[in-house]
């Protein structure tokens, strides 16, 4: 996030540090916050002008107090950590399986051609579409959720690993072989670093799809997680909890993406500038 110098208050004059002035200042400093502020303002206005039952719409303030309540009683930590553990575990497992599979397919031209259409076909069948079958096979369990999330995550990882390996110029490998490189050397020095930026892109896409699939699966499986939190709240008409849960779902995704996945991407892609072309 970039803080522009123009956003700094002009001069050191002691302006009244009212809270509204502070909000305005931070909006100019962080344009990323602007749409959020607009959303909250519209929401507030709609709620204030209409006559809504708390079973239909609540004010942003009510959501804030519901959020504090859930945090103070440890409920939020419980549900959020279930979801985060699930996506983390699924991501690790998908990488451990998806990257080697993507490699095996990528280095074999025939296999790559054979699988490309199939992988696109699978990408069309979202993880959520597998839920009915998964529930029949594995019941309302964490296994069902995990299977759905891994399925969703692993397809883009395999696909991007495969395309990453195939995009490496043939000459890289040939030149190294004429320098006496073994197969293992080629993987370590050429294929792995060459495919890494693409693998990270696959992981990033997969995390996005996987997070959505996770919430959906949790809503049906009802064994914890943020999806369970918001779907359970519906039963009791707790609109404040539903909206709180939705906001947390969005925030956690942004945090995971910005703090973990994007830095890895920047590191690999920026360093090897040539690959960006």
């Amino acid at each position: 996030m970039r803080v522009t110098a123009a956003a700094e208050p002009r001069g050191g004059l002691a302006s009244p540090a009212t809270s509204s002035a502070r909000v305005l200042r931070s909006l100019r400093a962080f344009p990323i916050l602007l749409p959020f502020a607009a959303l909250i303002a519209v929401w507030w206005a709609i709620h204030a002008t209409g006559d809504f039952s708390p079973q239909v719409l609540v004010s942003p303030l009510a959501v804030w107090s519901a959020f504090l309540h859930l945090v103070i009683h440890g409920v939020m930590a419980e549900y959020a950590s279930t979801s985060l553990r699930m996506i983390g575990f699924a991501a690790l497992l998908s990488l451990a399986v998806g990257v080697p599979v993507g490699f095996a397919v990528g280095v074999n031209g025939y296999a790559a051609r054979a699988l490309e259409g199939f992988l696109r076909f699978l990408q069309g069948i979202s993880g959520i579409a597998w839920l009915p079958l998964a529930i029949v096979w594995f019941g309302f369990t964490h296994t069902t959720t995990l299977v759905i999330v891994i399925y969703t995550l692993i397809v883009p990882i395999i696909f991007n690993t495969m395309t990453g390996v195939r995009a490496i110029p043939e000459e890289y490998g040939l030149a190294l072989r004429s320098l006496g490189a073994s197969r293992l050397r080629l993987v370590k020095d050429v294929y792995l670093p060459g495919a890494l930026p693409s693998i990270v892109v696959g992981l990033r896409l997969g995390m996005g799809y996987g997070w959505r699939a996770l919430i959906a699966a949790e809503m049906l499986v009802r064994k914890g997680g943020l999806g369970d939190l918001i779907f359970g709240a519906r039963t009791f008409g707790q609109i404040d909890r539903i909206i709180t849960g939705m906001i947390v779902i969005g925030c956690l995704y942004v945090v995971v993406d910005r703090l973990i996945v994007q830095p890895i991407e920047n590191l690999t892609v920026a360093r090897w500038g040539v690959l960006r072309q």
Binding site: Y172, A175, S178, L179, G180, G273
Partner: protein
């Protein structure tokens, strides 16, 4: 080329009856047809010919990346079965690794050969000096000009110290001025190290300037159509004197004629009648 038989003891590379057919979606394509050639140890041989005549196929077979459909390829009397450290390759497309610095690219072959760090650094340092890359050791390829990247590719191959160096239009992608400099550097580098070099090019000027001997290939399926000796040591050449040397320019004209005939030929049979 029967006269090569007499010198076979000092031949580094002997290709006999090399024919290569590769499969495409439109059926088999014959890239080369009974190529015979031999290259003496320490000789700089260039190969010119029309596009798609099988030059690169021949180079790939010498490197061991592909096997002949028919015929044999010997290096030091042993059949070439695959790529090896004794035969380095410099490609036209930048085959240096974008995620390695100049130093680590040049030292890559030595790293693979498990040469101890101190010896490796000494060799790399010497080649960085020889190729004018001093001061750029820690740069990544994308931070270099095209000419410098190609110097890294050349230095990497030389650092691994192969007996034979195979070059596939290595200077085709750099600008004309840089190319002249790189060519002069290459003849000096070869003079200093005494490598056997097989060099493919489209440019007749380049072929004559660099070579002890120029080979001309027919259009596809390619065969060696003529071999022209270039007198004098390549190591001493520079472009200024080369351009006004009438003996050299006569050779350029001769090679140009031979290549042009191939470009204009309407049937492969037409080229069969042409001899040296």
């Amino acid at each position: 080329m029967p006269d090569d038989m007499a010198k076979s003891t000092q031949n580094k590379i002997v290709v006999s009856g090399f024919r290569h057919v590769f499969e495409t979606d439109d059926g088999p394509v014959q890239a080369t047809d009974r190529v015979d050639l031999s290259i003496r140890a320490g000789e700089f041989v260039t190969l010119v010919g029309p596009s798609g005549c099988g030059k690169t196929t021949l180079l790939k077979a010498l490197a061991g990346f592909i096997r002949p459909t028919e015929g044999s390829i010997l290096c030091d009397g042993a059949t070439v079965l695959g790529p090896g450290r004794d035969r380095g390759v410099v490609f036209q497309e930048l085959a240096i690794l974008p995620w390695r610095t100049v130093r680590r690219n040049i030292g890559h072959g030595l790293e693979i050969a498990r040469v101890p760090r101190a010896a490796r650094e000494a060799t790399v340092g010497r080649l960085i000096e020889l190729t004018g890359l001093a001061g750029f050791e820690e740069r990544y390829p994308h931070e270099l000009s095209g000419g410098m990247r190609q110097r890294v590719a050349v230095a990497r191959t030389w650092a691994a110290d192969p007996d034979v160096i195979l070059m596939d239009e290595p200077f085709a992608a750099v600008d004309a001025m840089t190319r002249l400099t790189l060519q002069e550097e290459l003849v000096r580098l070869c003079g200093a190290t005494g490598k056997t070099v097989f060099f493919i090019t489209h440019s007749v000027d380049e072929a004559v300037f660099l070579a002890d001997r120029v080979l001309v290939m027919t259009r596809r399926p390619g065969r060696i159509k003529a071999a022209i000796d270039v007198p004098g040591r390549a190591a001493g050449r520079d472009w200024e004197s080369f351009k006004i040397d009438s003996a050299m320019q006569a050779i350029v004209e001769q090679v140009l004629r031979l290549v042009r005939e191939e470009r204009g030929a309407t049937a492969p049979a037409a080229s069969a009648a042409v001899t040296k």
